[in-house]
Subunit: 456 residues, 2 copies
Amino acid sequence: MARNTHVPADTAAPPITAILAKFVANHPSRGWSDAVEREAHRTFYNWLGCAIGAARHEAAEAAVAAVQMLEPAPQATVLGRAEKVDMASAALVNGITSHTFDFDDTHLKTIIHPAGPVASAVLALAERNGASGRDVIDALVLGIDVACRIGNVMYPDHYDRGWHITGSTGMLGAAAGCARLLRLDEEQTAMALGIAASQPVGLREQFGTMTKPFHPGAAARAGLMSALLASRGFTASSRALEAPRGLVQVASDKRAWHEATDELGERFEISFNTYKPFACGIVIHPSIDACVRLRAQGVTPQQVERIELRVHSLVLELTGKKEPKDGLQGKFSVYHGCAAGLIYGRAGEEEFSDAVVNDAQVVALRNKVQASVDDGIDEAAAQVTAVLQGGRRVEVRVDHAIGSLQNPLSDAQLEAKFGSLVEPVLGQARSDEITKTCRTLASLADLRLLTALCSA
Amino acid sequence: MARNTHVPADTAAPPITAILAKFVANHPSRGWSDAVEREAHRTFYNWLGCAIGAARHEAAEAAVAAVQMLEPAPQATVLGRAEKVDMASAALVNGITSHTFDFDDTHLKTIIHPAGPVASAVLALAERNGASGRDVIDALVLGIDVACRIGNVMYPDHYDRGWHITGSTGMLGAAAGCARLLRLDEEQTAMALGIAASQPVGLREQFGTMTKPFHPGAAARAGLMSALLASRGFTASSRALEAPRGLVQVASDKRAWHEATDELGERFEISFNTYKPFACGIVIHPSIDACVRLRAQGVTPQQVERIELRVHSLVLELTGKKEPKDGLQGKFSVYHGCAAGLIYGRAGEEEFSDAVVNDAQVVALRNKVQASVDDGIDEAAAQVTAVLQGGRRVEVRVDHAIGSLQNPLSDAQLEAKFGSLVEPVLGQARSDEITKTCRTLASLADLRLLTALCSA
């Protein structure tokens, strides 16, 4: 019945829905290396800190107020807050808060933020069911694998055409994780993936509004509900991902099917997950890191006559705002990022507050940053020179910024980040207790022991 | 940051999100003709019958069982059943049941089934809030106008590439209707449309599974939640529909912006809504109608030697199943449709039951139907000749089948259809009472007077 076509329909796509469903349902518990297991713990922990940290943001207030209109049953914790709500609403709100600061994890191959949809859904279901830490880690690894593998199939075309890929693959990861947690068999898991496939969430047009973090939240809720429906016998196409009118072909011209199944069960996409040291888009990170390193070498704001910054053109295209007026605009200003890095030695959520962005010392230093484009420098690199009074030049070249795959945050750095997010919300004692619990999450008998600590 | 493009981004699109939001927020109550007002009543009534009729279908059972896992508050009625659930879940389940029999309304210009997402969301919210019939009709007319106008902007390209357009525009109609019911101002209404724009639901690959009717249900829930969020201050892009990375440009190469705004407030798309007399895809309707007319002319199955059917190629492409094995397959068999029409004089949900599809008399007559393609005959027409024993030929040509815009169901026929759907679920007395209430819906003081009748 097609009256016109876009790219030709691929009628010979491999049965990736069934293959992934079989994998999710049957892969052995902890069937992966110690490195993967460690990364799962780091992914969960980083996600948890981001969600708790944004618990009092106005986006959280609005979302909780809307959800309360449903008079939800107290099944699951809104992280960092006193409310409990039904598990689908908890998945929604926790998914929103985890992405509100743009501080969550990033699968760099696809720029998916996978924990937002997957962990938010899995934790809400786990709390309601009293699942174990082992089951949650298993669900997280497998769910993230599904979301990121489908991301690999479609990226970059899918993202380039305007989909916010975190929400438009995340519902699959959430469905997979919840299906695993519910111990659905491979047929039911295929149905869960199929139901979820009809619910991609997210347009890039929403960037800069609350609907950006809404995307992982809505994807979490959609995936969780898909798994619940499948568990009760609801049906979907068993080829919902790969059929000519299935998700991948409808939403992407790139269809690298092999990405869904290559080394399945051997290579885990969570291995490629990274955690931000700075609360802003990754493209500014090398410049901030360079300024943090200048500070560590003894350079002080008072000495600085100017800062010469050489970066790839993309950096200024995305974050070239010279005179940011508030915290949000600060996140799109490499100039502000450099100033914060040199003055404070960090750029967490606090350094992107309205107050800091308008602080006189910060503004003064920001105005001394001179950026120039050099496309010989990689997008992920930066060359920064501090020209000091008297003419001395101190130069730092960053090829792999802190937080990149090549130079990941250490566990201690992750814990410091967590504390900076959680302590203002729940206090230091509770923050430390959560950290201790998360270190051995896989051995936790009942997730409710953790969620109780995360409730305000 | 785009690394490749599909069709060029249209950066000069008119601000249709804002224009439609202003319209929805400010258009006067009952600001339309008597004909539009009557069609709104017919649309609501037809939708209600379909939803109640499918209340005990296995898709409804599965959906209600899943929703019960949320321990929902009893805010709104699951139509035709005893359960009450939270209003978002009621929107979901009633949207599912209203489309389960493929018997709901059709906006023929876009093949959107608009009441599924819009009425399901609006009624759930109206019941929770005790809204009046007047407010519900206003919300329904305006919500359907938004969904169908965005459909007109994108159809057919959007549908051809694989989107089930009912669910991928329906969330906008549901958001608009609920925003109206909540009396949101135009800025908040724009936010509601914006949040909804990130949540298109539905792939055509799901046709033939429960996830097809899930699409209008999920769209209803998404639209309702979008309006609730906007009412609590949640933000979205105010250009979420028209921006280069907004819904229309992401999901369609056809972007007939003028369709969103031409004659806004003068022409109402609900005027072009139609109601199915037969519980199957519209493409078979002319053939069934022709056989019903043969029966009315005295032709009996016993007399028939063969039935010669001439139709457009599309009819056999979509519904050419010669030997259907069950009710669902029967819906894709023009042969079965013809047999049912001649034997029973109708083709409601009962005539597509497994028992009827396998009835010996039906099978025998079905085998006497000979179909041939004639592309000189319109898709919406059919030419049927009954060749009787002895050689007499009785010919019927249907150019506008019953239920088409040119030959709409009368109110009496709609009431008969409603009764056939509702009486088996709620009994004749209750069915009649609901019919009476729906005749003057706009004057109902509180929708809960209606929903109480629709509860089992």
